[in-house]
Symmetry: C2
Subunit: 183 residues, 2 copies
Protein backbone atom coordinates (compact mmCIF):
# COMPACT_ATOMS: atom_id res chain seq x y z
CA UNK A 1 0.00 0.00 0.00
CA UNK A 2 1.25 3.45 -0.95
CA UNK A 3 2.15 5.53 2.09
CA UNK A 4 0.43 8.88 2.64
CA UNK A 5 2.27 11.62 0.71
CA UNK A 6 4.85 13.46 2.76
CA UNK A 7 3.83 16.96 3.90
CA UNK A 8 6.30 18.48 6.30
CA UNK A 9 7.43 21.95 7.33
CA UNK A 10 10.84 22.37 8.95
CA UNK A 11 11.82 25.54 10.76
CA UNK A 12 15.35 26.59 11.59
CA UNK A 13 17.60 27.34 13.46
CA UNK A 14 18.17 23.70 14.26
CA UNK A 15 20.12 22.71 17.35
CA UNK A 16 23.45 21.16 16.41
CA UNK A 17 23.18 17.38 16.25
CA UNK A 18 25.20 14.34 15.25
CA UNK A 19 24.01 12.67 12.03
CA UNK A 20 26.61 9.87 12.01
CA UNK A 21 24.05 7.22 12.94
CA UNK A 22 21.81 8.34 10.05
CA UNK A 23 24.71 8.25 7.59
CA UNK A 24 25.93 4.87 8.85
CA UNK A 25 22.49 3.34 8.58
CA UNK A 26 22.12 4.75 5.05
CA UNK A 27 25.57 3.46 4.05
CA UNK A 28 25.04 -0.01 5.46
CA UNK A 29 21.44 -0.72 6.44
CA UNK A 30 21.09 -3.01 9.41
CA UNK A 31 24.76 -2.83 10.42
CA UNK A 32 25.29 -2.66 14.19
CA UNK A 33 25.43 0.97 15.32
CA UNK A 34 28.83 2.20 16.42
CA UNK A 35 28.75 5.04 18.93
CA UNK A 36 30.11 8.32 17.56
CA UNK A 37 32.85 9.96 19.64
CA UNK A 38 31.60 13.49 18.90
CA UNK A 39 29.99 15.45 21.73
CA UNK A 40 26.80 16.30 19.79
CA UNK A 41 23.54 14.56 20.66
CA UNK A 42 21.90 12.21 18.13
CA UNK A 43 18.49 13.81 18.42
CA UNK A 44 15.57 14.63 16.20
CA UNK A 45 16.06 18.15 14.81
CA UNK A 46 15.12 20.07 11.69
CA UNK A 47 18.57 19.18 10.29
CA UNK A 48 18.23 15.47 11.03
CA UNK A 49 14.80 15.47 9.39
CA UNK A 50 16.19 17.18 6.31
CA UNK A 51 19.02 14.62 6.14
CA UNK A 52 16.56 11.74 6.49
CA UNK A 53 14.50 13.04 3.58
CA UNK A 54 17.60 13.34 1.41
CA UNK A 55 18.84 9.89 2.36
CA UNK A 56 15.53 8.40 1.27
CA UNK A 57 16.65 8.89 -2.37
CA UNK A 58 16.92 5.64 -4.29
CA UNK A 59 17.34 6.71 -7.92
CA UNK A 60 17.95 10.43 -8.34
CA UNK A 61 18.69 13.64 -6.50
CA UNK A 62 18.46 16.97 -8.30
CA UNK A 63 19.92 19.88 -6.34
CA UNK A 64 19.49 23.55 -7.21
CA UNK A 65 21.35 25.46 -4.51
CA UNK A 66 22.57 29.03 -4.27
CA UNK A 67 25.09 28.21 -1.53
CA UNK A 68 26.31 24.82 -0.35
CA UNK A 69 28.91 24.86 2.39
CA UNK A 70 27.48 22.57 5.08
CA UNK A 71 29.82 19.57 5.41
CA UNK A 72 27.13 17.37 6.95
CA UNK A 73 24.79 17.81 4.00
CA UNK A 74 27.69 17.33 1.59
CA UNK A 75 28.49 14.00 3.24
CA UNK A 76 24.88 12.90 2.80
CA UNK A 77 24.98 13.84 -0.89
CA UNK A 78 28.31 12.05 -1.41
CA UNK A 79 26.95 8.96 0.28
CA UNK A 80 23.98 8.90 -2.09
CA UNK A 81 26.32 9.32 -5.06
CA UNK A 82 28.44 6.37 -3.86
CA UNK A 83 25.27 4.33 -3.40
CA UNK A 84 24.49 4.81 -7.11
CA UNK A 85 21.89 7.57 -6.83
CA UNK A 86 22.12 9.86 -9.88
CA UNK A 87 23.02 13.26 -8.39
CA UNK A 88 22.93 16.49 -10.42
CA UNK A 89 23.80 19.83 -8.84
CA UNK A 90 23.15 23.34 -10.12
CA UNK A 91 24.71 26.20 -8.20
CA UNK A 92 25.62 29.87 -8.33
CA UNK A 93 28.89 30.81 -10.01
CA UNK A 94 29.67 33.64 -7.60
CA UNK A 95 29.04 31.57 -4.48
CA UNK A 96 30.50 28.21 -5.42
CA UNK A 97 34.08 29.37 -4.84
CA UNK A 98 33.55 31.02 -1.47
CA UNK A 99 35.38 29.82 1.63
CA UNK A 100 33.92 26.57 2.91
CA UNK A 101 32.03 25.77 -0.29
CA UNK A 102 31.48 22.05 -0.72
CA UNK A 103 31.16 22.27 -4.50
CA UNK A 104 34.80 21.40 -5.22
CA UNK A 105 34.65 18.39 -2.94
CA UNK A 106 31.45 17.13 -4.58
CA UNK A 107 32.90 17.61 -8.07
CA UNK A 108 36.04 15.80 -6.97
CA UNK A 109 33.82 12.91 -5.83
CA UNK A 110 32.48 12.68 -9.38
CA UNK A 111 29.19 14.52 -8.99
CA UNK A 112 28.00 16.53 -12.00
CA UNK A 113 27.87 20.25 -11.22
CA UNK A 114 26.67 23.06 -13.45
CA UNK A 115 26.60 26.78 -12.76
CA UNK A 116 25.37 30.00 -14.30
CA UNK A 117 27.42 32.62 -16.10
CA UNK A 118 25.17 35.55 -15.21
CA UNK A 119 25.49 38.53 -12.98
CA UNK A 120 22.12 37.66 -11.42
CA UNK A 121 22.12 34.97 -8.74
CA UNK A 122 21.01 31.38 -9.15
CA UNK A 123 19.16 31.88 -5.87
CA UNK A 124 16.98 28.76 -5.72
CA UNK A 125 17.38 26.45 -2.73
CA UNK A 126 15.56 23.27 -3.65
CA UNK A 127 16.11 19.56 -3.99
CA UNK A 128 14.05 16.91 -5.74
CA UNK A 129 14.30 13.33 -4.50
CA UNK A 130 13.50 10.55 -6.99
CA UNK A 131 11.50 13.05 -9.11
CA UNK A 132 8.85 12.60 -6.44
CA UNK A 133 9.59 14.71 -3.38
CA UNK A 134 10.28 18.45 -3.41
CA UNK A 135 12.35 20.04 -0.65
CA UNK A 136 12.32 23.84 -0.94
CA UNK A 137 12.42 26.99 1.15
CA UNK A 138 14.56 29.87 2.33
CA UNK A 139 17.42 27.72 3.63
CA UNK A 140 20.82 27.89 2.00
CA UNK A 141 22.78 24.74 2.73
CA UNK A 142 25.27 26.41 5.07
CA UNK A 143 26.02 25.61 8.70
CA UNK A 144 25.46 29.28 9.57
CA UNK A 145 21.94 29.19 8.13
CA UNK A 146 21.10 25.84 9.74
CA UNK A 147 22.33 26.76 13.19
CA UNK A 148 21.77 30.52 13.41
CA UNK A 149 19.10 31.77 11.02
CA UNK A 150 15.34 31.81 11.01
CA UNK A 151 14.58 29.63 7.99
CA UNK A 152 11.89 27.41 6.55
CA UNK A 153 11.89 24.29 4.42
CA UNK A 154 8.82 22.65 2.91
CA UNK A 155 8.85 18.96 2.08
CA UNK A 156 6.12 18.21 -0.43
CA UNK A 157 5.20 15.01 -2.20
CA UNK A 158 2.74 16.54 -4.60
CA UNK A 159 2.97 15.80 -8.30
CA UNK A 160 1.89 19.28 -9.42
CA UNK A 161 4.47 21.18 -7.38
CA UNK A 162 7.19 18.61 -8.05
CA UNK A 163 6.60 18.84 -11.80
CA UNK A 164 6.86 22.64 -11.81
CA UNK A 165 10.21 22.50 -10.00
CA UNK A 166 11.47 19.51 -12.00
CA UNK A 167 10.74 21.41 -15.22
CA UNK A 168 12.57 24.46 -13.86
CA UNK A 169 15.51 22.24 -12.94
CA UNK A 170 15.68 20.72 -16.43
CA UNK A 171 15.50 24.20 -18.04
CA UNK A 172 18.38 25.44 -15.90
CA UNK A 173 20.38 22.22 -16.35
CA UNK A 174 20.22 22.66 -20.11
CA UNK A 175 20.86 26.37 -20.03
CA UNK A 176 23.96 25.86 -17.87
CA UNK A 177 25.36 23.11 -20.07
CA UNK A 178 29.14 23.75 -20.14
CA UNK A 179 29.05 23.21 -23.92
CA UNK A 180 27.23 26.54 -24.07
CA UNK A 181 29.55 28.50 -21.79
CA UNK A 182 31.13 31.51 -23.42
CA UNK A 183 34.59 32.76 -22.52
CA UNK B 1 -19.53 28.29 -3.80
CA UNK B 2 -15.99 28.20 -2.45
CA UNK B 3 -13.41 28.58 -5.21
CA UNK B 4 -10.81 25.85 -5.68
CA UNK B 5 -7.83 26.48 -3.36
CA UNK B 6 -5.03 28.45 -4.98
CA UNK B 7 -1.97 26.39 -5.94
CA UNK B 8 0.54 28.38 -7.94
CA UNK B 9 4.27 28.33 -8.57
CA UNK B 10 5.99 31.50 -9.76
CA UNK B 11 9.49 31.48 -11.20
CA UNK B 12 11.73 34.49 -11.54
CA UNK B 13 13.42 36.49 -13.09
CA UNK B 14 10.29 38.33 -14.10
CA UNK B 15 10.36 40.73 -17.01
CA UNK B 16 9.91 44.31 -15.84
CA UNK B 17 6.26 45.34 -16.01
CA UNK B 18 3.98 48.18 -15.02
CA UNK B 19 1.66 47.39 -12.11
CA UNK B 20 -0.10 50.79 -12.03
CA UNK B 21 -3.33 49.35 -13.42
CA UNK B 22 -3.36 46.66 -10.73
CA UNK B 23 -2.74 49.21 -7.98
CA UNK B 24 -5.36 51.61 -9.37
CA UNK B 25 -7.98 48.88 -9.57
CA UNK B 26 -7.17 47.80 -6.00
CA UNK B 27 -7.35 51.39 -4.74
CA UNK B 28 -10.60 52.19 -6.47
CA UNK B 29 -12.33 49.11 -7.87
CA UNK B 30 -14.27 49.79 -11.05
CA UNK B 31 -12.78 53.26 -11.62
CA UNK B 32 -12.02 53.98 -15.28
CA UNK B 33 -8.46 52.94 -16.10
CA UNK B 34 -6.06 55.81 -16.73
CA UNK B 35 -3.16 54.97 -19.01
CA UNK B 36 0.22 55.02 -17.24
CA UNK B 37 2.90 57.18 -18.89
CA UNK B 38 5.71 54.75 -18.02
CA UNK B 39 7.34 52.79 -20.84
CA UNK B 40 6.84 49.35 -19.20
CA UNK B 41 4.20 46.98 -20.56
CA UNK B 42 1.19 46.04 -18.41
CA UNK B 43 1.59 42.32 -18.96
CA UNK B 44 1.13 39.14 -17.02
CA UNK B 45 4.43 38.29 -15.31
CA UNK B 46 5.58 36.51 -12.17
CA UNK B 47 5.74 39.94 -10.49
CA UNK B 48 2.22 40.96 -11.54
CA UNK B 49 0.90 37.62 -10.29
CA UNK B 50 2.61 38.08 -6.96
CA UNK B 51 1.17 41.60 -6.68
CA UNK B 52 -2.34 40.30 -7.51
CA UNK B 53 -2.13 37.71 -4.75
CA UNK B 54 -1.05 40.33 -2.23
CA UNK B 55 -3.76 42.77 -3.31
CA UNK B 56 -6.38 40.08 -2.71
CA UNK B 57 -5.95 40.68 1.06
CA UNK B 58 -9.11 41.91 2.75
CA UNK B 59 -8.38 41.64 6.46
CA UNK B 60 -4.74 40.89 7.24
CA UNK B 61 -1.28 40.63 5.73
CA UNK B 62 1.57 39.14 7.76
CA UNK B 63 4.99 39.67 6.21
CA UNK B 64 8.19 37.95 7.29
CA UNK B 65 10.91 39.23 4.98
CA UNK B 66 14.69 39.18 5.15
CA UNK B 67 15.06 42.03 2.65
CA UNK B 68 12.42 44.42 1.36
CA UNK B 69 13.63 47.06 -1.07
CA UNK B 70 11.30 46.70 -4.07
CA UNK B 71 9.30 49.95 -4.37
CA UNK B 72 6.52 48.30 -6.37
CA UNK B 73 5.83 45.72 -3.66
CA UNK B 74 6.08 48.43 -1.00
CA UNK B 75 3.40 50.43 -2.80
CA UNK B 76 1.12 47.40 -2.86
CA UNK B 77 1.62 46.88 0.89
CA UNK B 78 1.01 50.57 1.63
CA UNK B 79 -2.15 50.49 -0.43
CA UNK B 80 -3.45 47.54 1.59
CA UNK B 81 -2.62 49.36 4.81
CA UNK B 82 -4.54 52.44 3.64
CA UNK B 83 -7.44 50.22 2.68
CA UNK B 84 -7.66 49.04 6.32
CA UNK B 85 -5.93 45.69 5.96
CA UNK B 86 -4.04 44.88 9.18
CA UNK B 87 -0.40 44.67 8.07
CA UNK B 88 2.37 43.32 10.31
CA UNK B 89 5.95 43.12 9.11
CA UNK B 90 8.88 41.20 10.57
CA UNK B 91 12.31 41.83 9.07
CA UNK B 92 16.02 41.41 9.58
CA UNK B 93 17.82 44.03 11.68
CA UNK B 94 21.00 43.97 9.60
CA UNK B 95 19.20 44.34 6.27
CA UNK B 96 16.44 46.78 7.10
CA UNK B 97 18.77 49.80 7.03
CA UNK B 98 20.53 49.00 3.76
CA UNK B 99 20.35 51.34 0.80
CA UNK B 100 16.96 51.20 -0.89
CA UNK B 101 15.23 49.46 2.00
CA UNK B 102 11.49 50.19 2.08
CA UNK B 103 11.17 49.50 5.81
CA UNK B 104 11.50 53.14 6.86
CA UNK B 105 8.86 54.22 4.35
CA UNK B 106 6.45 51.52 5.53
CA UNK B 107 7.01 52.46 9.19
CA UNK B 108 6.47 56.09 8.29
CA UNK B 109 3.15 55.10 6.70
CA UNK B 110 2.09 53.66 10.05
CA UNK B 111 2.76 49.95 9.44
CA UNK B 112 3.92 47.92 12.44
CA UNK B 113 7.44 46.59 11.94
CA UNK B 114 9.44 44.34 14.25
CA UNK B 115 12.96 43.05 13.83
CA UNK B 116 15.40 40.67 15.48
CA UNK B 117 18.34 41.55 17.71
CA UNK B 118 20.42 38.50 16.80
CA UNK B 119 23.59 37.94 14.85
CA UNK B 120 21.81 35.22 12.85
CA UNK B 121 19.60 36.37 10.00
CA UNK B 122 15.82 36.52 9.99
CA UNK B 123 16.03 34.88 6.59
CA UNK B 124 12.39 33.92 5.94
CA UNK B 125 10.69 35.30 2.84
CA UNK B 126 7.02 34.63 3.31
CA UNK B 127 3.68 36.40 3.42
CA UNK B 128 0.32 35.23 4.72
CA UNK B 129 -2.80 36.79 3.24
CA UNK B 130 -5.95 36.80 5.41
CA UNK B 131 -4.51 33.91 7.49
CA UNK B 132 -5.53 31.79 4.51
CA UNK B 133 -2.96 31.99 1.72
CA UNK B 134 0.76 31.35 2.12
CA UNK B 135 3.26 32.97 -0.26
CA UNK B 136 6.76 31.61 0.31
CA UNK B 137 9.98 30.79 -1.50
CA UNK B 138 13.51 31.90 -2.21
CA UNK B 139 12.61 35.42 -3.34
CA UNK B 140 13.72 38.41 -1.34
CA UNK B 141 11.51 41.39 -2.09
CA UNK B 142 14.16 43.32 -4.01
CA UNK B 143 14.07 44.59 -7.56
CA UNK B 144 17.40 42.86 -8.21
CA UNK B 145 15.99 39.49 -7.18
CA UNK B 146 12.76 39.98 -9.13
CA UNK B 147 14.41 41.10 -12.35
CA UNK B 148 17.77 39.29 -12.33
CA UNK B 149 17.77 36.17 -10.17
CA UNK B 150 16.55 32.63 -10.59
CA UNK B 151 13.93 32.44 -7.84
CA UNK B 152 10.79 30.57 -6.88
CA UNK B 153 7.62 31.47 -5.01
CA UNK B 154 4.90 29.04 -3.99
CA UNK B 155 1.36 30.27 -3.44
CA UNK B 156 -0.51 27.77 -1.32
CA UNK B 157 -4.02 27.86 0.08
CA UNK B 158 -3.67 24.83 2.30
CA UNK B 159 -4.70 25.02 5.94
CA UNK B 160 -1.92 22.73 7.20
CA UNK B 161 0.93 24.67 5.61
CA UNK B 162 -0.64 28.04 6.37
CA UNK B 163 -1.03 27.13 10.05
CA UNK B 164 2.61 26.06 10.38
CA UNK B 165 3.81 29.39 8.94
CA UNK B 166 1.21 31.44 10.84
CA UNK B 167 2.39 29.84 14.10
CA UNK B 168 6.01 30.62 13.17
CA UNK B 169 5.00 34.22 12.42
CA UNK B 170 3.24 34.62 15.78
CA UNK B 171 6.26 33.13 17.63
CA UNK B 172 8.62 35.58 15.92
CA UNK B 173 6.22 38.51 16.34
CA UNK B 174 6.15 37.92 20.11
CA UNK B 175 9.87 37.23 20.37
CA UNK B 176 10.66 40.48 18.53
CA UNK B 177 8.30 42.57 20.68
CA UNK B 178 10.15 45.87 21.22
CA UNK B 179 9.20 45.68 24.90
CA UNK B 180 11.71 42.81 25.11
CA UNK B 181 14.56 44.53 23.26
CA UNK B 182 17.74 44.83 25.29
CA UNK B 183 20.18 47.72 24.86
Amino acid sequence: RRARPVREVLFFPSRPCCIEALLAEAAEPGAPARPCPCPLPSVDTALSRLVRRLLSARRSLDLCLFAFSCPQLARAVQLLHRRGVHVRLVTDAQYMGLHGSQIGRLRHAGIQVRHDQHSGYMHHKFAIVDRRMLITGSLNWTTQAIQSNRENVLVVEDAEYVKAFQDEFERIWEEYNPASYSF
